[in-house]
C-alpha cells in the first residue's frame, strides 16, 4: 500500500501545484501528470491484476495524461495565451483555500466508514480533496482553458473514488465514463475555439452578456 499512498499524496500535491501555477502551460502539464499518476494508481491499488483493470488503467492514463492535455495545449496555442493574468482569486488565497478544502475533505471522509479492505487508505480523502480542488480551479480562474482543466481535475477526483470500485463497476460503464469525459472535453475544446474566434480572447469574464438587469 505504500506505493499507492505515495501516489495519492502526489495527486494531492499536484492539486496545490495547479492552483498555484500562473502559467497555463504549467497547469495543463500538472493535469497531465495527475492523469498519468492516476493510471499508475489504478494498477497499484489492486492486489490482483486482471486484464480489465490494466486496460482501464491504460486507457485512463492515455486519455487523461496524453490526449486531453495535448488537445488543451493546442487550444492554448490557438488562443495565444500563456498566463492566467489576474485570476478572480489570487494564487496565494487559492492555495490557502485549497488547504482548507483538503483539510475539510479529510475531516469529512473520516466520518465515512470504510470497508475492511480499504482501511487506512487515503483514497476517499484524496478523491474528495481533488474534486474540491477542481471546483476551486473552476471558480477562481478566468481563462476558459483553466476552467476546463478544473473540470478535468474534478473528474480525476471522481476517478480516484472509482478506483475503489473497479471490480464492482462493469467494464462498459468505466469505458463509457472515460469516453464521455473525452467527448465532453472535446466539445469544450471546440467551443473554446469558437469563443476565441468570436471574442478574440479566452477570457471568460467577457461572457457576461446574458444576465438580469
Amino acid at each position: 500500500m505504500g506505493f499507492a499512498s505515495t501516489l495519492l499524496v502526489i495527486v494531492l500535491l499536484l492539486n496545490f501545484f495547479m492552483l498555484g501555477a500562473s502559467r497555463v502551460r504549467a497547469v495543463i502539464n500538472g493535469s497531465a501528470m495527475q492523469g498519468v499518476v492516476l493510471g499508475l494508481l489504478a494498477v497499484s491499488v489492486h492486489a490482483h491484476l486482471d486484464l480489465e483493470i490494466v486496460l482501464i488503467a491504460l486507457v485512463a492514463g492515455l486519455v487523461k495524461g496524453l490526449l486531453i492535455p495535448r488537445m488543451l495545449m493546442k487550444a492554448m496555442r490557438g488562443g495565444a495565451i500563456r498566463r492566467e493574468v489576474e485570476p478572480l482569486v489570487g494564487f496565494m488565497p487559492s492555495l490557502l483555500l485549497c488547504a482548507v478544502t483538503t483539510g475539510g475533505a479529510l475531516v469529512f471522509s473520516s466520518t465515512l466508514p470504510l470497508a475492511p479492505q480499504h482501511a487506512g487508505s487515503l483514497l476517499v480523502p484524496t478523491s474528495l480533496a481533488t474534486v474540491l480542488a477542481g471546483f476551486l480551479l473552476l471558480i477562481t480562474r478566468r481563462k476558459a482553458i483553466t476552467q476546463v482543466v478544473g473540470y478535468l481535475v474534478l473528474e480525476n477526483g471522481i476517478y480516484v473514488m472509482g478506483l475503489m470500485l473497479l471490480e464492482a463497476m462493469p467494464f462498459l460503464v468505466e469505458v463509457g465514463v472515460l469516453l464521455d469525459l473525452f467527448v465532453a472535453i472535446f466539445v469544450m475544446g471546440i467551443i473554446i475555439n469558437h469563443i476565441n474566434r468570436e471574442f478574440s480572447s479566452l477570457d471568460t469574464s467577457r461572457l457576461t452578456a446574458l444576465r438580469e438587469e
Binding site: M161, A168, V177, L179
Partner: protein, 475 residues
C-alpha cells in the same frame, strides 16, 4: 424492442448527416418522431421484455416517462421542418442530426436499469444538446452554450461521484457492488447509511443541476433564452424529465432503504427555493424566453416539492411532469413564432402580438394561463393535488410559501405575457408580414389540447399508470 428504441433514431441521425439537402433532411424529423412514438407505444402496450441482460427494462415509471417523451418529441418533430424552413439561412445538418440522436439517448436514460449506464446516457444528452443551443451561432448563443456545458458537466460529474458513493455503500456492507436497480432495491435496507445519504445528496445536486433546480439553475435562462424555441421545449420537457427520473431512481432507493425522511426534507427545501428564486426573477422580466426558462425552474421546484411531500403528492408530481411538459411545449413554440415575427425577445419591443400573429399570441396567452395553474388546464389539477397533501399534512408554512410564490409568479408572468400579447404592435410591424402556417400551429394546438384535456379528464388507463408509477393507490 428496447434496444431499437435507443438505436433507431440515432441511425436516422446518421442518415441525416449524409443527406446533402437541408430541406429533405428536416423531413427526417417527423419520420423519426413517428417511428419513436410508434416504438414507444408498442413497448408500453406490449410490455416489452428487458433487454441487454436486464440493463434495459421497462417499469411503470419508465413507461410513463417513455410515453411522455415520445409524444413530446413527435409533436416537436412535426413543428421542426416548418421552423427550419423559416431559418433556411442556417445550415441544419448538425441540428437535425442532434435532434434525431436526442430521443435515442433519452430513451436510454429512461430504460436503463443500471445507474452507471443511466449516467453515461445523461452525460451524452448534455453533449448532444449543446450544438442545438448553439444553433444561432452568435456570441450570445456561444456564451449560453459555454455556461450550459460547463455547469451541466460539473453537475453531472457530481452525480457520478454520488453514484460511486452508492456503489461503495454496498461494498462497505460486503455486498456485491452493483449499480443495477433491481439489485440495489433488493439490498437497499442493508446499505451503509452514511454513504447512502452522501450519495443521495451528491446525485440530487448533480441531476438537480440538469433539471435546473435553484441554485444550480443559472444556465437555464441563458440556454433557453438563446436556443431556438423548439430546442427550449425539448429541453424543458424531455431533458428535465430525464434528470427528474434519475433523481427519482435514487430517491426510491432511499425510500427502500428507509432513509426517505431526510431525502424528502431536502427535496422540499430545494423545491421551495427553486420556486422562490424563479418568482424573484419572473417579476419585471424583460425577455419572454428567459421568462419561460424561469418558469421551468419553478416547475422543476414543484416537481421535487411534490415528491418531497410524498403520499398522493407523488402522484401529483408525476402528473405535473406531463402537464408542465405539454404546456411548456405550447409556450416555447408559440414564443418562437412570436419571436420570428418580431425578431426580438425584448418585451418592450414586442407588443400587440394578437394583432400581428393572432394564433400564436392566443396560444401563448392560453399557455400562460395554463402554466400558472388556472383551471381548467392540467397544471391546476396536479398543483392542486400537491397542495392538497401539504394542507392535509398540516404543513402550513409550505402551503403558504407555495402559494405566495405562485402568486408572485402569476403577477410577474401575467404582466409580461399580457403586454406581449395585447396592446398595439409597433408601427413598423403594423401589417401581418408572415403568414402563420399550419405546421407551425398544429403542434401547439395539440400541446394545448393535451394540457386542457388533462385538466378536464384524466383517462383512467393513464391514471392507473400514474398511480402505479407513483406507488400510490387510489386515495
Amino acid at each position: 424492442m428496447l434496444l431499437a428504441l435507443i438505436l433507431v433514431t440515432p441511425a436516422l441521425a446518421g442518415l441525416a448527416f449524409a443527406l446533402p439537402s437541408g430541406k429533405d433532411r428536416a423531413w427526417l424529423l417527423p419520420l423519426g418522431g413517428a417511428l419513436n412514438l410508434f416504438l414507444a407505444l408498442a413497448a408500453i402496450f406490449f410490455d416489452a421484455a428487458p433487454a441487454a441482460e436486464g440493463w434495459l427494462a421497462l417499469d411503470p415509471l419508465g413507461k410513463l416517462f417513455l410515453g411522455f417523451g415520445a409524444v413530446l418529441f413527435a409533436l416537436l418533430s412535426i413543428y421542426a421542418p416548418a421552423y427550419l424552413h423559416l431559418r433556411a439561412e442556417r445550415p441544419n445538418r448538425v441540428m437535425v442530426a442532434c435532434l434525431l440522436v436526442f430521443p435515442g439517448i433519452t430513451n436510454a436514460v429512461l430504460l436503463s436499469h443500471h445507474l452507471g449506464l443511466m449516467w453515461v446516457a445523461l452525460e451524452a444528452s448534455t453533449l448532444a444538446t449543446a450544438p442545438m443551443i448553439y444553433f444561432n451561432r452568435n456570441a450570445r448563443s456561444l456564451e449560453a452554450v459555454w455556461k450550459y456545458l460547463l455547469i451541466g458537466s460539473v453537475g453531472i460529474a457530481l452525480a457520478l461521484l454520488g453514484s460511486l458513493f452508492l456503489a461503495y455503500a454496498e461494498l462497505h456492507e460486503n455486498l456485491v457492488a452493483s449499480l443495477r436497480l433491481e439489485d440495489l432495491e433488493r439490498i437497499a435496507p442493508s446499505l451503509s447509511r452514511p454513504w447512502l445519504r452522501t450519495a443521495f445528496v451528491l446525485t440530487f445536486i448533480g441531476y438537480g443541476t440538469k433539471m435546473g433546480l435553484a441554485p444550480m439553475h443559472t444556465w437555464k435562462p441563458d440556454a433557453y433564452g438563446e436556443a431556438p424555441g423548439l430546442v427550449g421545449a425539448l429541453l424543458a420537457g424531455s431533458m428535465t424529465s430525464c434528470a427528474f427520473l434519475a433523481v427519482l431512481r435514487f430517491f426510491h432507493l432511499c425510500v427502500a432503504a428507509g432513509e426517505a425522511a431526510f431525502a424528502r426534507e431536502l427535496m422540499v427545501g430545494f423545491g421551495l427555493l427553486s420556486m422562490g428564486v424563479a418568482a424573484a426573477f419572473m417579476v419585471k422580466q424583460h425577455d419572454y424566453k428567459r421568462l419561460l426558462a424561469y418558469s421551468s425552474v419553478e416547475h422543476m421546484g414543484i416537481l421535487v416539492l411534490g415528491m418531497g411531500l410524498g403520499g398522493n403528492a407523488t402522484f401529483g408530481s408525476l402528473l405535473h411532469l406531463l402537464n408542465n411538459g405539454m404546456t411548456k411545449g405550447v409556450l416555447f413554440l408559440s414564443a418562437a413564432n412570436i419571436h420570428r415575427a418580431y425578431a426580438t425577445k425584448s418585451v418592450e419591443e414586442t407588443r400587440g402580438a394578437l394583432r400581428l400573429v393572432p394564433w400564436s399570441a392566443s396560444l401563448f396567452l392560453l399557455g400562460f394561463i395554463a402554466i400558472t395553474g388556472s383551471p381548467p388546464f392540467g397544471p391546476f389539477v396536479s398543483e392542486f393535488t400537491i397542495l392538497e397533501v401539504a394542507v392535509r399534512e398540516g404543513r402550513y408554512v409550505v402551503t403558504a410559501l407555495f402559494l405566495t410564490f405562485l402568486l408572485i409568479i402569476f403577477v410577474g408572468m401575467s404582466s409580461t405575457v399580457l403586454s406581449v400579447v395585447q396592446g398595439k404592435p409597433p408601427a413598423h410591424l403594423e401589417r401581418p408580414h408572415r403568414q402563420e402556417s399550419f405546421l407551425l400551429l398544429a403542434p401547439i394546438v395539440i400541446f394545448l389540447a393535451c394540457s386542457l384535456g388533462l385538466g378536464l379528464y384524466l383517462p383512467p388507463p393513464l391514471e392507473a399508470l400514474l398511480r402505479e408509477a407513483a406507488g400510490v393507490g387510489v386515495p
